[in-house]
Subunit: 275 residues, 4 copies
Amino acid sequence: MNLAFIGTGRMGAAMVRNLVAAGHRVTAYNRTREKAEGLGAAVADSPAAACRGCDAAITMLPDDHATEEAVFGREGIGGAPHIACSTISTAMARRLAAQSADYLSAPVFGRPQAAEARQLLVVAAGRPELIRRFQPVFDAIGRQTFVAGAEPWQANAVKLCGNFMIASMLEAFGESYATLEKAGVAPHLFLEVMSALFGSPVYANYGRIIADRKFEPAGFALKLGLKDVRLTLETAAECLSPMPFASILRDRLMDAAAHGQGEKDWSSFALWGRP
Amino acid sequence: MNLAFIGTGRMGAAMVRNLVAAGHRVTAYNRTREKAEGLGAAVADSPAAACRGCDAAITMLPDDHATEEAVFGREGIGGAPHIACSTISTAMARRLAAQSADYLSAPVFGRPQAAEARQLLVVAAGRPELIRRFQPVFDAIGRQTFVAGAEPWQANAVKLCGNFMIASMLEAFGESYATLEKAGVAPHLFLEVMSALFGSPVYANYGRIIADRKFEPAGFALKLGLKDVRLTLETAAECLSPMPFASILRDRLMDAAAHGQGEKDWSSFALWGRP
Amino acid sequence: MNLAFIGTGRMGAAMVRNLVAAGHRVTAYNRTREKAEGLGAAVADSPAAACRGCDAAITMLPDDHATEEAVFGREGIGGAPHIACSTISTAMARRLAAQSADYLSAPVFGRPQAAEARQLLVVAAGRPELIRRFQPVFDAIGRQTFVAGAEPWQANAVKLCGNFMIASMLEAFGESYATLEKAGVAPHLFLEVMSALFGSPVYANYGRIIADRKFEPAGFALKLGLKDVRLTLETAAECLSPMPFASILRDRLMDAAAHGQGEKDWSSFALWGRP
Amino acid sequence: MNLAFIGTGRMGAAMVRNLVAAGHRVTAYNRTREKAEGLGAAVADSPAAACRGCDAAITMLPDDHATEEAVFGREGIGGAPHIACSTISTAMARRLAAQSADYLSAPVFGRPQAAEARQLLVVAAGRPELIRRFQPVFDAIGRQTFVAGAEPWQANAVKLCGNFMIASMLEAFGESYATLEKAGVAPHLFLEVMSALFGSPVYANYGRIIADRKFEPAGFALKLGLKDVRLTLETAAECLSPMPFASILRDRLMDAAAHGQGEKDWSSFALWGRP
């Protein structure tokens, strides 16, 4: 396929490489042009230029604001067929769906390494025939595709709740470590037990980051994590669904951000209140 | 070794079988005597009788109260060498340590099936040479032993925090399912994504129980889960460590108990407030 | 002075009557025209028409949305001098300040009866000379004026936090009543003690509404209370200030709204979870 | 009447003076004997000695532990008629009721100054004829007596919930001040508005203590406030009643205690997390 790809940060760059490797023709755009080069894709000077003649534009941008600019801005992608892989709000997903007749939300789970290894989990939502048409795109970037529903924003709701699940795990680790340290038990011992109990690489990985207090470089910046928990609460508020854990997470993340941790790994909020 | 085993419920019975299979000589005691029979162990009429001449008494009882009775009661095990595998409070562990010169806390993680398959995780704490001495006991019942510290109650702190980690996961599932259902996304779809994301059998198992709303028969009764979260908060209070997630869990579990769910699986609290 | 008054609901109507009684010339506008009649004010067909030649336009509208329409809409008040007495967001106050060179936020505390009796508390913010100029307006509607700062939105922050203080009292009553009822103590006995302890008419009044479960007719609709707590949390989020009580209140109010209590008195959320 | 009075701290001393002034014959006991002298009461060497021949023993002690000692200890008051004015747990009240056939719980609201001015609020519970019999005692120490029920512990439940109401107000002030300070609004301005809004001396008093950050000398020590909130949660747990505000208060108070604020005024927890 002929694909436009908007946003070649660490995640996006890896995805472009995999799309090219799978035989797609990709034209990339990035605000800092250099980051779009050397990926095996043509490089365009604007989202609009990247889209010219494409089968679909894929966006992989940090937030609603950047997505808005890339779509609705001057020289934006406008009404072109569009697959948004970014973690955006359900409200923004609805605006994008109103803008393009052929719109899919397809947010992804996975850190940059997973993106490079084509191991992302893709959660897609939108018209079934559209999802079928773009299955080769999803296959090129991830190891599995899930279909969340016929309304694009439903995929974003799933992505936000997934991040909330991870954040809840981080807080649970943080509270346990805090109590156990005061009880004289080493966090690493607890981590070992939890790794054996849950048998999950996500637990092993994040549990170690917190136990080691190794929050730099950030795998996922705290300010983005805060944004995601806020969006989760907004989605929950739209349907009047209380999420008390999410409220606590928001408070913790805000507090961490207020203490200058915005650029550190988001798991650093779990050390809240400790020296 | 010559072992006394007090408390042959589903968990205890499986542990006795494995101890016998490993070549230990076991004398079992259970309040309902029949449950102690047919396990390959001799059966005694009281904890005291079971202990006579034993290298250690192992207790596997539902709570502090039952443990208190079995140890300090008339015909209790008294000052005999003692390994408490039950999920008890850190305060009770300190009382037991004061009672017996050779006392270990060794609570276990795992449901009855894991006990049968000798797949329990054992978290032991106490004097190092005592842990070494009883390593064969741990090997006979579990797949891995972790040493939490030289103070027996530290193992109980780890066990309580581990259960708190699981309860936090249950609540996170509950909140996500609630929001997603209102958003028209099926819980089972979300479960699939989370199973792939976390890669953890614990997530797959509990996520399905809640999605299926299949809370009977209970794998672990809600009233026991409530007890455990309370004990976690008590341990945290001893060291002035706030655990806001645990506070919410306590409220949810209390509410569920007040609505008659005490005998259902503890994961049923996650459906809180929903029809 | 020549005043335009936009929004003559129960609160606004009482305020107009007091402004007229104090000798001001008032031209009123209300979407439902009849509600603007019989108050001693001229009646206009649009906000713009009401403003013609006025010294200031006063708005008293239910929320941001209605205020936006009355100001920025076709036939809105536009850039006229403007005093917004409504409970609006701090973000909206900043937009209004950008729109009119002579803008004051002056939200009020008090129920309709207090408005009628000229007993409102006025919290004003904006340029000092502007506040001085309009002091006669504040004197005509309230018993006391407080100056929150030189930035108009600061008055809205104070108003939102004030409503949050009341909501916190409601929840505290609700939790106490719930526990005491289960303990066999009548809510009315507790109310009597609290009335004596706090010596506050606000406690006596709201404590009785909840004890009597008399939530209709609504003095202040729950859906508006929910809106206010949301705006409080938004203001807090702007400055990264965690407000855990406010988060709980939001959850409670959402839950009550989801159960159809949106038009009842907002204090009804305090009965949460009870038959 | 002939009264024994156990515990002549600041509160107790004022109460003894008022009892003597009302014409009662009082024999006082205090662990530090000097504090019992000069109050117009005879001084005894033990609770038991103070009780000899008395119509009732009144206890005014800091907590369950001190009360237990004074009642059940060697030379304690034993089974004598007993009025406990202390803030104790509902569980302890039940133990005291089992100990003495003529037992009343009669906790009081009010700071030392109120005690001196005979302005305490007395919340009594127990057998009606017993309350009638001791009405003169209550009249001598307070301005109003409330009857909470026929079970003594019900009065303690009311007292604990009352303290919870005050603590909730403190937290609401703390959250508001924090947000408003970041918004550039002075706490004292907000305090003025709240004083006018609630019209309550309790708001004016505590609001000022927090705004002034004047937490020493403590009117009521934080460690005692923490104890009371814990007891409130225990009472709520007895009847499976969730109190989310109380859970947050407990966390805040624990955190403040962990940071060395135990002897400061309890309102100091409201400054939580701020420089």
